[in-house]
Symmetry: C2
């Protein structure tokens, strides 16, 4: 059974945030009781970006706080939504008057608690919300269902909205951009091994050595099917082809491609996977004008990865390219 | 048994390098046959920095190629030294006349093959070599032995020498700085779970859930003792205290602290570990003026981490702080 290096389980998330500040004291600041992480100092007149969610996905979201990205990140307990009071206090700490954009991955608890926070803040803050729901594995025809999960496309939403806000765009524009990026994005993931929850010590499911779990999310849940293992080329193609179809990408279209490791996936594997993403795209004449490979939206120590494609336009490329300085993303 | 996402095993390292270039085409360029990675274009008049070693430690060294750090990285097969011909061709590709510094982790094969390469290059290139040997677990009184292993201190050597070279320092100065940083550094690591070799599919050793392996290296070898597991506070203190003693650090001394994940260690754990490093240092009045937590020098998918301390002086802080832009390290 896999084990974690930690002290008291209940202090895991807070202590990790303290370590993040220790590594990046010029970028981030930890607020305790309730717990949230902000930029070192609020930026007057700028639209504030606030995201958050359950922990276990680091570096998301706390590692995305800094210049050109988030103003605050609100970490819940492992795989547990942050409370509405955490979100409320984080927004109050970073909104200097230009309003705040709430970036929420589409999970029932997150959506609910960010909405309650928005209600609590409504009389003193102008707010917009972007819900990110990029995970094709959870596409459903059930109109009353929770809809698709939010996964690694949140990285593109946070980066692009962050650049627009940093450049002085007003709240309405930043919110519209976030919704546009979310709508232009799709993600699929697979696991070679499930994660072990540090709270329970249990692995969330078991796979045989000749199997992979296709369409996994980032909370230890099973995917949409257990499939035969294969080469990196085969497995990556099985992720990328449905994304191309869903986004309606055609020859000459330009995309951002994100290969995202789920936690215990090695940099060598992520490199090979990005190579394979490019090969599949090249076969269809789709152009990966920007690409990224790394462990950004993890699921504790799950082995495996997701691929996100975002259909880009010229202005989105410029916003993606704009300078960013956070603990996990800097250029 | 843990599995890797890859195609042909023999192509793993090359295909991963191709993925690195796909993610960072403005920074790095892959050369095939023999395989090495260089900055996008050589920089005329600058001392060239070349490092390398067996693969499986990514993002080291290929991820450290770029402005303000390495000019070339030479990856061997997994846990296998690069050949002398790889090193020779890499140096020839990036030395524009100011000479080259070879940064070598202290392993018999690496030292031998870099030395053969240096002999092959001696008539046309001015060369200096820095051997990094920071791993206290392998300190020995045997004068004829291989000496201490080189591990995560190589990151500090590459960063600081890279900044000096970028600023125009001559070869002799860059080499002297590298030796100074190496001498001022010490590292200790421990594992909660050994790595699985993708070539053999075998885990290199087994631990019980109530054990950790203390003093591990980065090639799957056992450490210097199997110890009782403990809290992050206890385990990190067991790493940091010998470093303080070895480096002779005293109240008021300033250090760079690097918490390095071995591959499958989660960002939450690395954050907690850095918090604990700071607490131990604070207890002795040693000041971590700079700190870093991340998976930089990995050992495939080993769970665990190392702590490196480097005693800093003012000029070393400035060189550490100088801008750097590589796939794995940017500020």
């Amino acid at each position: 059974m896999n084990r974690y290096l930690l002290n008291e389980r209940d202090a895991f998330v807070r202590e990790a945030a303290e370590g993040l500040e220790a590594a990046h004291p010029a970028l981030v600041r930890v607020h305790a009781d309730p717990l949230f992480v902000t930029r070192r100092a609020p930026v007057a007149g700028k639209v504030a970006l606030v995201s958050g969610g359950g922990s276990g996905h680091e570096p998301l979201h706390t590692g995305m706080v800094g210049t050109g990205m988030l103003d605050a990140a609100v970490p819940g307990a492992v795989f547990t939504s942050p409370t509405a009071l955490q979100v409320r206090d984080a927004v109050a700490a970073v909104d200097t008057g230009a309003g705040a954009l709430l970036i929420v991955k589409n999970y029932t608890g997150d959506v609910l608690n960010f909405r309650i926070a928005a209600d609590l803040l409504a009389d003193r803050h102008r707010l917009e919300t972007v819900v990110v729901d990029d995970d094709l594995a959870t596409a459903s025809t059930d109109e009353d269902g929770p809809g698709r999960r939010g996964t690694a496309a949140v990285l593109a939403v946070e980066k692009i909205c962050g650049a627009a806000a940093e450049a002085g765009a007003p709240l309405g524009r930043v919110g519209a951009l976030g919704r546009e990026v979310a709508a232009r994005s799709a993600t699929l993931g697979l696991a070679l091994e499930a994660c072990t929850n540090p709270m329970t010590g249990r692995r969330s499911f078991d796979l045989r050595p000749d199997e992979v779990e296709f369409g996994v999310g980032i909370h230890g849940e099973r995917g949409i099917g257990t499939r035969a293992a294969g080469s990196a080329a085969e497995l990556v193609a099985s992720l990328v082809r449905p994304l191309l179809g869903h986004l309606g990408l055609r020859r000459g279209d330009e995309v951002l491609a994100i290969v995202n490791g789920f936690g215990a996936t090695h940099a060598l594997e992520l490199g090979v996977a990005l190579r394979e993403v490019r090969r599949v795209l090249a076969g269809d004449g789709v152009v990966p004008v920007r690409a990224l490979a790394g462990s950004f939206v993890t699921s504790l120590d799950m082995r495996g990865l997701s691929v996100t494609l975002t259909a880009l336009t010229g202005d989105l490329v410029d916003l993606w390219d704009a300078p960013v300085r956070t603990p996990a993303l800097t250029w």
